[in-house]
């Protein structure tokens, strides 16, 4: 663990690599944050949403007269009303359409059918019960396999030319080369597995306050959004509002994890209602609404086949994936890639050939497919390859650590072009694996495992390894865009006359610590202490354009922009210092926070003195002030990596299991604030454990969602969350100005496979080869009882 440091020291002379306490925490700890629910405007109305009880049904009629008659009800908004304003449907982030409010059919349980706008929330909820909807139930399609069968009920009969439930077919890699690799293989191992539907489940649900001023036409919308600028543009395109009249403000956000990237019907209806009524409208989603209708994650059915030679060298990888999209194709992902970055499935391994075939299908479930704390579907890819490598190790009788090591991409291969087209920027995988093995006491734990197997102990031990590589930090803009908007990001830096500063960014944090981390970047480049820098994000009228915070992209993009804009200001500061010190620019040297004259170190101007001069005594012919803006388009993604090792104890009589040791070795390049990085990794490991052990948005055969509250969709507590031992190696990114890579999602991406590998390893001697997540005790027991023995 790192220790907290508040000022430069002899050991750490600058601001990089220093665990500065989080500047934003003071207001959060004191309960003085400002979330959407805290926004209260005069004359404000409240909105509640009526949701479909059916997964698939035709709407025969909607009678809202009794609801309208309830005192305090101002409006009941239905799909028919929205259709009059051409707002009943809206585009998704993958270029499909989804209903704002249902007009013809409901297509998932929980779909938005009508909204009540009332003087208070109690009345709004009472009125929901008075709306009479006559449904004609239709057969529900609840799996993607069933969706693609001949004669399956057509879910998207609203779309011209849509004759079946197929969403997309997309391939990556080289089919012929992969076939050739398999033809020449000594061994082929395979794994069919399902990554279940999970949900980001941020503690704060979604919500907004929409205030459309009837006099000026200005729409001010406070919204739980990870990407406020992109939302503004979407609103302008969808609603036809002039973009200068739309101000999106993302105030403090209580967790996002990808859930708060898309546009949801509640935002649109509240804005439309405010526009039509002329009063502010607040919509705050409840927990069931969040879990049942907003962006889910995963839901990939996957088969992987690995071709190996007799020595265990990997020759080729063949992957088939079928994605359950729900009723709309609404993944938040770059438009070029139809299954996100799932084709990153070759992971950390030097695979000469790979072929990935992906298909998506509509089902009667909520749309979404957001990347829950991962870079566009890499979580699913990482899970498949890391599970598959473990299956291969068992099948060919090799140690899973050795099989990984001998197939790693080697340090001299970087930049490494993978078989599916990624160019890995840097990496050195074996040292991370070795450090993890050493810290877990690998040889001793294997010996203990053997002893317990020999004794036939009730509690068996398993060791699970995952050596993951992520691809994150999108752009570059040549390959990455959302609905055509390029995935650059931006930073605007203004240094005030007294040497304090404000840094404005196009990204929007939801707990990641930007107000500290990005202040440290400026501090590192300009010498202004982080405590003297305000980091502003989330207000589209007051920050430069950017694509937002998700996919671990903030430090790779906006972080780079912040460093580069600070460097631009430093060059202007050099000119001012030269003027003040009456020397040539090239006679000056920069150190930490000041310019000094070469050979005359007593002649100095600090950044604070220079900033003051920029407004009071700047050279003739130079613009006053010390500010700038930088839009940064990264040349490539960044590729952090990690090895996670889990030791789990499994009770073979009941299937109960407990992680007894978790070691994480992360390499995300240069760490700006190690404490914040470690916090990110611990959070990611906790979420990885949660998905492995307990989480699933499940449905019954009629499409009823049985995971729409926290009694059924489980969030681990401190009681079951294991202790984590964290370590690191450092392989800088060669193209990021600070050598940084993203890290916010590494542990969520990589660790689920480590947990599952550990449980399967504990019972592999009983013949068990796979247990799908969530690895409930019942599934372990059932796998043991179903195993050939």
């Amino acid at each position: 663990m790192t220790t907290v440091e508040t000022a430069p020291s002899a050991e750490h002379p600058g601001w990089m690599g220093k665990s500065v306490p989080r500047i934003e925490d003071a207001r959060f700890i004191a309960g003085r944050g400002n979330y959407v629910e805290d926004v209260v405007l005069p004359n404000m109305l409240h909105m509640a949403i009526l949701r479909s009880p059916y997964a698939h049904a035709r709407i025969v009629s909607i009678d809202s007269s009794a609801a309208m008659a309830l005192p305090g009800v101002v409006a009941v908004v239905t799909g028919a009303l929205l259709a009059e304003h051409k707002l009943a449907w809206m585009p998704t982030l993958s270029g499909d359409t989804q209903a704002v409010l249902a007009t013809d059919k409901v297509r998932f349980q929980g779909q938005e059918v009508a909204c009540v706008v009332a003087e208070d929330r109690y009345v709004a909820h009472d009125a929901l019960e008075l709306i009479v909807v006559d449904y004609e139930p239709l057969p529900a399609v609840v799996t993607p396999q069933a969706a693609l069968e001949d004669g399956a009920p057509l879910i998207r009969d609203d779309k011209d030319g849509q004759v079946d439930n197929r969403v997309y077919h997309w391939e990556a890699g080289d089919a012929a080369a992969t076939e050739a690799a398999f033809a020449g293989a000594d061994r082929v191992v395979s794994l069919t597995t399902f990554y279940p539907r999970s949900h980001p489940a941020p503690l704060e649900c979604c919500g907004c306050v929409a205030d459309v001023n009837p006099a000026s036409g200005k729409a001010t919308i406070w919204m739980t959004s990870q990407a406020p600028h992109a939302i503004r543009t979407v609103f302008a395109l969808v609603a036809g509002l002039p973009e200068q009249n739309i101000q999106i403000i993302s105030p403090d956000i209580g967790g996002g994890f990808g859930n708060k990237v898309p546009v949801y019907p509640g935002y649109v209806v509240a804005t439309a209602a405010s526009l039509l009524i002329g009063r502010p409208v607040k919509w705050i989603e409840d927990r069931t609404g969040n879990l049942i209708s907003t962006g889910f994650a995963r839901d990939f059915h996957m088969t992987g086949e690995l071709a190996l030679d007799g020595a265990g060298k990997m020759l080729g990888l063949r992957v088939k994936m079928l994605s359950d999209q729900g009723y709309a194709y609404a993944d938040a992902q770059p438009s070029k890639f139809r299954a996100g970055l799932f084709h990153m499935v070759t992971g950390s391994y030097d695979l000469p050939a790979a072929h990935v075939v992906t298909d998506g299908a509509y089902t009667n479930k909520a749309p979404g497919g957001v990347a829950y704390r991962c870079s566009f579907r890499i979580t699913e890819a990482s899970y498949l390859i890391e599970r598959l490598v473990d299956v291969a190790a068992v099948e060919i009788g090799m140690d899973p650590a050795e099989l990984r090591r001998m197939n790693f991409v080697q340090p001299d291969q970087f930049p490494y072009r993978s078989a599916t087209g990624f160019v890995y920027d840097s990496g050195d995988y074996a040292p991370a694996l070795d450090l993890a093995l050493e810290q877990v006491g690998y040889a001793e734990v294997r010996a203990e495992q053997q002893a317990r197997r020999a004794a036939g102990a009730t509690k068996q031990l398993g060791i699970g390894i995952a050596s993951m590589t992520e691809a994150l930090g999108a752009g570059p803009s040549r390959d990455y865009d959302i609905l055509g908007i390029k995935m650059f990001d931006s930073a605007e830096l203004r240094v005030h006359p007294t040497g304090k500063a404000i840094l404005k960014l196009g990204v929007r944090h939801q707990g990641q610590g930007h107000e500290t981390t990005f202040a440290q970047i400026v501090a590192h480049e300009l010498g202004i202490p982080p405590q003297d820098i305000v980091v502003q994000e989330g207000d589209t009228d007051n920050t430069p354009y950017g694509l937002g915070t998700y996919a671990s992209r903030s430090t790779p993009t906006a972080g780079a922009a912040a460093a580069l804009v600070a460097r631009t200001l430093r060059e202007k500061a050099r000119k001012i210092a030269a003027y003040l010190l009456e020397v040539a620019e090239e006679d000056l040297e920069w150190e930490a926070d000041r310019f000094s004259v070469k050979g005359a170190p007593e002649k100095v101007k600090t950044i604070q003195e220079i900033a003051f001069a920029a407004y009071t005594n700047h050279p003739q012919g130079m613009d006053a002030g010390l500010e700038g803006v930088k839009y940064y388009d990264p040349p490539n993604l960044t590729f952090p990596f990690a090895t996670y090792i889990v030791v789990a104890e499994v009770d073979v009589a009941t299937g109960e299991w407990t992680p007894v040791k978790v070691v994480a070795v992360d390499d995300c390049g240069v760490r700006i604030n190690p404490m914040i990085v470690e916090g990110q990794i611990m959070g990611g490991l906790t979420e990885g454990y949660a998905m492995a052990a307990m989480q699933q948005i499940a449905f019954d055969e009629d499409g009823n969602c049985i995971g729409s509250n926290f009694m059924d969709y489980l969030i681990p507590t401190a009681m079951e969350t294991p202790h984590f031992d964290l370590f690191d190696t450092c392989t800088p990114s060669p193209h990021h100005p600070l050598g940084c890579k993203g890290v916010g999602e590494s542990a969520t991406v990589g660790s689920p496979a480590a947990f599952v590998n550990a449980v399967v390893d504990a019972v592999s001697h009983l013949g068990v080869r796979n247990i799908d997540m969530p690895v409930l005790s019942s599934r372990v027991w059932e796998a043991i009882h179903a195993a050939p023995g």
């Binding site: 009694m711 009681m719 409930l776």
Partner: protein, 288 residues
């Protein structure tokens, strides 16, 4: 929380509360700890027009041994049971179950008697009471009756308490001088309802079992008393063979359903394993 409209009463005496229940019958719902009722009202699964909050009634928070039994009043919180000296020293099955009830927030508010009245087959206290042969004291304006727990628990979320009655206390018989017990619970995470729970109780005399109690959670329409397993134990000496036989009989008594927590076969087998483990643990740590 945005529940349906209701009228709220907070009677200051037992008499007032009973009068309200007599007047409103099925329209009234008693609020004690609220840890089951309030979530149901929040989701509008329950919309009682009348709430009778009994928290201001004095004298309902007693934990005491009296007249050959332990009395637990209607306002005794789970947290108080967890911390009670008399329970931790004399009622090991209750003491083992108390810290497994949901989470600390729920335990601080939720009541023992309220949990019994809620009659959730996944509730832990019903099984404990079945193992201990407890009973519930029901009071109404018409008088008082003592209902054995096996008759009190009637079906999923249904008890034989009448709408005009208030469950004023639970009673647990004196365990004797040589006894042991425990509670085992399989849950997906802390605070989860039981996938399977097993309550065991043994009273012994000179190594011979004089009384045995086994209650099962989450494996039937109500909590289940494993009567055959209990009978197999009584009169015997605790041995591996006897434990295995009792565990087998208890598993036969279970009537689980397949659901998201696991298959019926799985749950029945966990009953077997847990009853055996519970009896072994109890036999290993008797209080004499």
């Amino acid at each position: 929380m945005f529940p349906s409209q209701f009228t709220y009463h907070a009677p200051a005496t037992l008499g007032e509360a009973l009068a309200l229940l007599a007047e409103h019958g099925d329209d009234a719902k008693v609020l004690a700890g609220g840890q089951s009722l309030i979530p149901l009202m929040k989701l509008r699964f329950a919309a009682p027009p009348i709430i009778v909050d009994i928290n201001r009634i004095p004298g309902l928070d007693t934990i005491a041994e009296e007249g050959g039994s332990l009395r637990v009043g209607a306002l005794v919180r789970n947290r108080a049971i967890e911390r009670s000296d008399v329970i931790t020293s004399r009622y090991p099955t209750m003491a083992a179950a108390a810290p497994m009830i949901s989470d600390p927030v729920v335990r601080n508010q939720g009541t023992f008697v309220g949990s019994l009245c809620h009659a959730d087959p996944q509730g832990d206290w019903g099984s404990v009471m079945l193992a201990l042969d407890g009973s519930v004291v029901a009071r109404s304006v018409a008088g008082e009756r003592v209902i054995p727990i096996g008759e009190f628990l009637d079906g999923p979320f249904t008890s034989t308490l009448r709408a005009d009655e208030l469950a004023v206390e639970a009673r647990v018989p004196d365990p004797g001088s040589e006894f042991a017990g425990t509670y085992l619970k399989l849950e997906r995470k802390v605070g989860d309802f039981a996938t399977v729970g097993v309550a065991v109780f043994l009273a012994t005399s000179g190594g011979t079992v004089t009384k045995a109690g086994i209650g099962l959670t989450g494996v039937g329409a109500t909590n289940i008393k494993a009567t055959a397993a209990e009978q197999a134990l009584v009169g015997g000496t605790v041995s591996d063979a006897l434990i295995e036989e009792a565990a087998r009989l208890a598993a036969e008594a279970a009537d689980p359903r397949t659901d998201i927590r696991g298959s019926a076969d799985y749950k029945r087998d966990v009953v077997r394993v847990y009853v055996a483990r519970g009896l072994r643990a109890a036999a290993a740590t008797p209080v004499a």
